[in-house]
Symmetry: C2
Subunit: 225 residues, 2 copies
C-alpha cells in the first residue's frame, strides 16, 4: 500500500498534467492498483506569485489544508517559483505530520551530486533567487540569463501557458540553454516546470537536471513505502 | 470565473491524465488563469468494478463526497465501466445540488447525432451493457465484439494499464475496430478510456466517437459559465 500524494497544481496547468504523467511513468506497475493514489488541486487562479506574494501564500496554504482533509500524506507542488510562498504549506505539513517535498532543495541536491561547481539555471526571476541561494549553500556557483535572454525566457514560459510548444519555441529554449553554457556553466537545471515541455534532458547539450523529474522521483520514493 | 470540476479518477491512471490534458486542450485559454480549476482523486485502488461492484460503488461515493468537500461543483468520472456503480455518486450530487456528467449518456447522445443506426462499441463487458442499453433507448442497434475479439480487447486494455501503448497494441486495436465494421457497424464508439490511448479518432476507419473526448467537451461546457 502506498501513501497518498497531494499535488498543489495549476502553476501552470499543462506542467501539472505532465508532472502526473511522470509520476506514473516512474512508478513500477503491472496494473492500476500498483500506482500511487493522488489527490490534486489544479488551481490556475492562484494569485500572481510575483505581484501578490502574501495572497498567494495564503491560497497555497488553504489548498494544502484541503488536500490534507482529502487524505494526502505527502505534499508536493510542481512549481519552482511558488516555493518562495510555501511558508503556509510548510507550517501546515509540520503541524499535521505530513511530508512536504521541497522541489528546490531536491533539485539542488541532485545537481550537487553531479560534482559540477558552476551550474546554469533556467528559471523565472523568483526561481532564480531560490536556486542561487540553494546552490550557494551547497558550494555551487549559479549562472543565470541576463537582459534579452531573460526576457526571451519569460516569453517562452508564457507561450507554453498559452499552449505554444512548437518547434520555434523549442529551438528558442535550446538557444537559452546554450547561452548559459557560453557563460561558463558546466551543467544545467530546468528550474521551471514549463522548461521540460520545450527542452528534454535527452536533447540538452550538457547534463540537465529537470526539477519536475527530480520531484516526481522523490514523490515515488516517498509514497511507495 | 469557471466552476470547479471534480474528477473521480484512477480507472485507469494513464486514462485520467490523458483526460485532464484533453480538458485543457479544449479550454480556450490565453494564460493559466483561463483554465478550469480541477480537484481530483486519482484512486487506482478502487475495488474491482466487475467482481466487487457494491464495494466499488461505496468507495466511488466517498470519493465524490471528498471532492465536494474540496469545492467541486461539477463531477465527472472518466471511466465508462465504473458508471454502472455510479449510484452513490448520483445520490450525493442530487443531495448537494452538484452536476454529474454522465459519460455514457453524453457519448450515446453524440453518437445518435451522427444519424447512424448501427454503432459498434469498443468497451469492457460492463461498458458494453451500459452502451447497449443507452443506444437502444435512442433507437440505435449496438454491434459488439465476440469471442476471441472480446478477449483480445481486454488484453489490450490491461496492456495499456501496464504501460503498453506500442505499435503492436495500436495495430491490434485498429483490427478490432475493423472487426466491428465487418460485422455491420456504420460508426464506432470508443467506450473505454484506454481505447484512445491506442486508437485516435483521426486514425479510425469510420467516424469514432471517443467517450473521453465527449466527456471533456461536456466538462468544459459545464464549467466555463
Amino acid at each position: 500500500m502506498s501513501k497518498i500524494l497531494g499535488v498543489i497544481g495549476g502553476m501552470g496547468p499543462a506542467a501539472t498534467v505532465a508532472f502526473l504523467a511522470r509520476v506514473q511513468a516512474l512508478t513500477p506497475a503491472k496494473g492500476d492498483a500498483d500506482h500511487i493514489r493522488v489527490v490534486m488541486d489544479l488551481n490556475p487562479q492562484v494569485p500572481d506569485r510575483n505581484t501578490r506574494p502574501g495572497e498567494a501564500e495564503a491560497v497555497l496554504g488553504q489548498m494544502a489544508e484541503r488536500l490534507a482533509a482529502a487524505g494526502a500524506e505527502v505534499i508536493a507542488m510542481p512549481c519552482n517559483t511558488a516555493h518562495a510562498q510555501a511558508g503556509a504549506i510548510r507550517a501546515l505539513c509540520a503541524a499535521k505530520g505530513l511530508g512536504f517535498i521541497d522541489m528546490i532543495a531536491a533539485t539542488a541536491d541532485a545537481a550537487a551530486a553531479s560534482g559540477s561547481k558552476r551550474i546554469g539555471v533556467l528559471a523565472t526571476p523568483g526561481g532564480e533567487r531560490l536556486y542561487a541561494e540553494a546552490l550557494a549553500a551547497r558550494g555551487i556557483e549559479t549562472v543565470l540569463l541576463e537582459g534579452a535572454g531573460r526576457e526571451a525566457f519569460m516569453a517562452l514560459v508564457y507561450g507554453v501557458k498559452r499552449g505554444d510548444v512548437g518547434e520555434a519555441a523549442r529551438a528558442g529554449m535550446s538557444r537559452l540553454a546554450q547561452a548559459l553554457l557560453d557563460a561558463g556553466a558546466h551543467g544545467l537545471i530546468a528550474g521551471c516546470t514549463e522548461v521540460p515541455l520545450l527542452l528534454k534532458a535527452e536533447n540538452a547539450p550538457v547534463p540537465l537536471r529537470d526539477s519536475a523529474e527530480v520531484l516526481a522521483q522523490a514523490c515515488v520514493a516517498a509514497c511507495r513505502v
